[in-house]
């Protein structure tokens, strides 16, 4: 296949709908007449979706991606597939990292260290040990994950589970942006007859097909409360999927719009 490396940028602009009329016509004429061009375009679509999922698009490109590129069911299917690939690859990387953790250096290094340590007298050993502890504690302190600021103010909204017969109309609650508060606190009413669970997991589906875990802040026999910081919200439609006991048993699906 001939690599169209010289016009990959132009093809990307074409996919995002940002080319001039003349440039678009040139690209389309090549699409209609050059045998390899269709596959190049298909690859460019895949690369664009990869970059979207990997958060490598600019804000303007993300906007065009959502408004123009995702116009067909086929492309939305491609997006879901790429997201699934990313999830799978990340999960596999996590498993491999865990399997590698217990590995230790070759015995010769350990023997050398033991030999060095064994050669020290009591005083230098104590001093070296204290110095090592101080360095380790200092490094851990500096490397500690910085927790996001705890939200203090909330906009509260109570949601009932979607029955599945969704028309997308005015019944779906709406919240405005900016919220005027640190976070959105959603009280999710459990469907009638639901057996309360010991714990819950909540995932938020965003309007462009991303799935994010959201914090479960509290629960009682009839409701579960989740908190979504304002910084994670953008205009669009959202669904909170609630699962019980860290299983795949979905308790409910809760819809809301951000406008």
């Amino acid at each position: 296949m001939t690599p169209y490396t010289d016009i990959q940028g132009e093809i990307r602009q074409y996919l995002l709908g940002t080319l001039s009329e003349d440039a678009r016509r040139r690209v389309e004429e090549r699409l209609m007449t050059e045998e390899a061009f269709l596959e190049e375009l298909t690859m460019a679509e895949g690369a664009l979706i990869d970059d979207y999922v990997g958060e490598r698009l600019t804000a303007a490109e993300r906007s065009e991606f959502g408004q123009h590129f995702l116009s067909t069911e086929e492309r939305r299917r491609q997006l879901r597939f790429t997201q699934a690939l990313g999830r799978y690859a990340d999960a596999a990387a996590g498993k491999v990292a865990g399997a590698r953790e217990p590995a230790r250096p070759a015995p010769t290094m350990g023997e050398r260290l033991r030999g060095f340590w064994g050669g020290l007298s009591w005083g230098p050993r104590a001093g070296l040990a204290l110095a090592c502890v101080a360095v380790i504690v200092g490094a851990l302190w500096l490397a500690r994950p910085v927790a996001p600021p705890t939200p203090h103010t909330f906009v509260a909204l109570t949601l009932a589970s979607d029955s599945g017969d969704r028309s997308g109309g005015p019944d779906v609650p709406e919240v405005p942006l900016p919220l005027g508060a640190d976070a959105l606190k959603l009280t999710l009413t459990l469907p009638a007859g639901t057996v309360p669970a010991a714990s819950y997991r909540a995932e938020m589906l965003t309007g462009v097909g991303r799935t994010e875990v959201v914090e479960v802040a509290g629960r009682d026999e009839r409701t579960v409360t989740v908190v979504v910081p304002e910084a994670r919200l953008a205009r669009g439609q959202y669904a909170i999927q609630l699962y019980a006991d860290n299983t795949e048993r979905r308790v409910g699906s809760y819809l809301f719009n951000v406008k």
């Binding site: 690599p3 209609m32 990997g54 492309r75 879901r80 997201q83 990387a93 097909g209 669904a239 795949e248």
Partner: protein, 187 residues
């Protein structure tokens, strides 16, 4: 569509003959043109891309007997010209609506089924292809671009060659997942 009732076997035969004297090759070119038209309309933001492609082909078919005698050049470009008109008419009749995704429980279920199928299909890949896909798609947020450059360097190939290789493996995976989803779709 009202055009369909006017399309005759004779006009369809004229179309194929115009595309290629060999009927089998002509059929292949016909399919190729149709795929490209669908992609063209999709790239122009039309969710009804297949419908518009078929409309384009129908109009060309109706005129094929006359056009094929006079037209000089690649027939694909004639189809392109008709597609432009079809597109403009479609804007007047059905202005494009920006897609507003509506996440739903059904879609979430479909996503999970797709993931399960992907797990199965990944097991069927050869080890080299599986490792390639895993390395390419792992989400290293600390160095989003660099890890693919590194991967290409490790394999001793250019980044574009890496992209092509991954694209082919991905196409195989997608076909496998589509087949799996078709087999496991709920009744």
């Amino acid at each position: 569509m009202k055009h369909e009732s006017s399309i005759t076997q004779a006009s369809f035969d004229s179309l194929l003959a115009w595309l290629d004297p060999d009927r089998d090759r002509a059929a292949g070119k016909y399919e190729q043109i149709r795929r490209r038209l669908i992609r063209l309309f999709a790239c122009r933001g039309r969710h009804d891309a297949e419908e518009l492609a078929d409309e384009t082909i129908n109009r060309v078919t109706l005129k094929a007997t006359d056009v094929s005698k006079e037209y000089v050049g690649d027939p694909s470009l004639y189809f392109y010209g008709v597609a432009q008109k079809v597109f403009l008419e479609s804007l007047r009749k059905r202005p494009p609506q920006p897609f507003v995704p509506q996440p739903s429980p059904a879609e979430a279920e479909e996503t999970e089924r797709e993931y399960e199928c992907l797990e199965r299909c990944m097991e069927e890949l050869g080890p080299a292809s599986r490792e390639l896909v895993l390395d390419y798609y792992r989400n290293d947020r600390r160095a989003k671009i660099d890890h693919r450059k590194e991967l290409a360097a490790q394999l001793g190939i250019a980044q574009n060659a890496l992209r092509i290789r991954v694209h082919r493996v991905r196409a195989t995976l997608q076909e496998c997942v589509s087949g799996c989803l078709g087999q496991t779709s709920p009744a």
